[in-house]
């Protein structure tokens, strides 16, 4: 017996009609509770950041020569330096200037977030996803999911949905030197080698596509290989990758390896292991430069 769209429509309507009406007061009360909780978390985050900036300011005042080590990547990194003497004001300042946002392809609404809200790393309990920050001579590389704090949403902006970024920051996290946006493909892990910084993610139920990225540490150039999901891809149309900063390549090979964890550096490239105890999972080897 064939099923038709009318059957589907009928089933959906029947199911919806069986639904009890929600209590409007309960909906408003629940929304209010969440608004208040969000405000408290945001204040807590900003308070923690302010305290951290004060501590850093004290350290910086006695080790000012250390600042000379930093080499901001790219000529656009201007205007958002935070003065240790005005930490409270600075902690509420935009994390990036409008100019930097344009240079790095960052949504202005995200660039306008203060550092304390924008630079938030995945909670350790969110999964065994590997290292998400590494210190290097050029600064601190880290994966950030703006707008979340202990798993709670801080931002109401749709720009933050399914968004993550790879950031190069000053060691004290006070300034963003370089930002790489990953809309719909938030990175889960970070791997730094002498030549490059790699990041990646494994697709899952909500965001089914996977990716591996490479940033050349000498030039700052970004290359990304997007491995589209065979069953539920958001990138079936290559135009979905258009306009992103860097070189983005859609790879339709549907690898079965474990891209959720950092790869091993082998003699002939990056080696992603197969999933243990999963039949059909095979290793994936990628060229360390082209990611092909």
């Amino acid at each position: 017996m064939k099923r038709t769209l009318d059957d589907l429509r009928g089933a959906l309507r029947e199911d919806a009609d069986d639904t009890a009406y929600p209590d409007a007061d309960a909906l408003v009360a629940g929304a209010r509770r969440r608004v208040v909780a969000t405000r408290r978390r945001r204040l807590a985050a900003l308070g923690a950041a302010t305290a951290a900036v004060l501590v850093v300011a004290g350290v910086a005042s006695t080790h000012s020569t250390q600042q000379g080590v930093l080499r901001p990547a790219g000529k656009g990194t201007t205007g958002t330096a935070i003065s240790p003497t005005s930490s409270r004001t600075a902690s509420l300042a935009p994390s990036q200037s409008a100019v930097d946002a344009r240079v790095y392809g960052i949504d202005p609404a995200i660039a306008a977030l203060p550092i304390a809200v924008r630079v938030l790393q995945p909670h350790p309990a969110s999964g065994p996803l590997g290292t998400t920050q590494t210190s290097t001579p050029e600064g601190l590389w880290l994966v950030s999911y703006p707008g979340t704090f202990d798993g709670a949403d801080l931002g109401a902006s749709p720009q933050l949905a399914d968004y993550g970024e790879l950031l190069l920051m000053t060691p004290n996290r006070s300034r963003i030197l370089h930002a790489y946006p990953f809309r719909g493909l938030p990175p889960q892990w970070l791997l730094v080698t002498p030549q490059a910084v790699y990041c990646g993610r494994q697709g899952d139920g909500g965001l089914p596509d996977s990716m591996v990225c490479r940033v050349d540490r000498s030039t700052g150039e970004l290359g990304v290989a997007v491995f589209s999901s065979a069953t539920d891809s958001s990138f079936g149309d290559p135009r979905a990758l258009a306009g992103r900063p860097g070189r983005w390549r859609l790879d339709g090979s549907h690898p079965t390896a474990d891209l959720q964890h950092r790869p091993r550096i082998a003699a002939d490239g990056l080696l992603f292991d197969p999933y243990p105890n999963q039949a059909g999972s095979r290793p994936l080897r990628l060229d360390p430069v082209t990611l092909e």
Partner: protein, 177 residues
């Protein structure tokens, strides 16, 4: 940020809360989760209520759909549409309960985007363009997700021709009806 609802917020919830709740129930398949989902979306809308330009219901529904996909990302563990979806026999013909149960059970196994696309397209009767706008994806992705979802539900091929990723010149909205 205010502790009291912005102007018009409560009236909106009274008027449109049930419709938004129905959307959430069809997505989550659980009334409790649906109420949570609506509350989360309303809380987000609350914080920018005065800046919402135009249709508040569409705005909140968009949050519901995208929040559903995000929440699913944290909870979903690779469940895939089953290849063993039961075939209805001739005995079921005319028995709407059986068809309903089979379809809704199959809908519950779909990946979140596919489920959301079906709910928006065939419950709310959104166009492909409106669905794409609500979900923040391209029209091509809406087409491909619709095609895959209908295939998973084994909706008759001839009745969803044109919903696929590469529609032919004969693809048309009317054919979906």
């Amino acid at each position: 940020m205010r502790d009291t609802p912005p102007g018009g917020f409560v009236d909106f919830v009274i008027a449109r809360g049930p419709a938004l709740h129905r959307t959430a129930v069809l997505l989550t398949r659980q009334e409790e989760s649906a109420e949570d989902l609506v509350q989360i979306a309303l809380a987000k809308a609350w914080q920018c209520w005065d800046r919402i330009d135009g249709n508040h219901e569409a705005y909140v529904r968009r949050i519901i759909v995208n929040e559903f996909a995000s929440a699913w990302r944290r909870r979903w563990r690779g469940e895939l549409p089953t290849a063993d979806l039961p075939e209805l026999t001739g005995d079921d013909h005319g028995d709407g309960v059986s068809m309903h149960q089979v379809l809704m059970a199959a809908l519950a196994t779909l990946p979140p985007r596919q489920r959301a696309v079906l709910v928006l397209r065939f419950f709310h009767d959104y166009t492909e363009a409106a669905t794409a706008e609500a979900m923040g994806i391209t029209i091509g992705t809406v087409k491909s997700q619709t095609f895959k979802a209908l295939a998973a539900l084994r909706i008759s091929e001839e009745l969803h021709e044109g919903a696929g990723p590469e529609p032919t010149g004969s693809a048309r909205e009317g054919m979906l009806l």
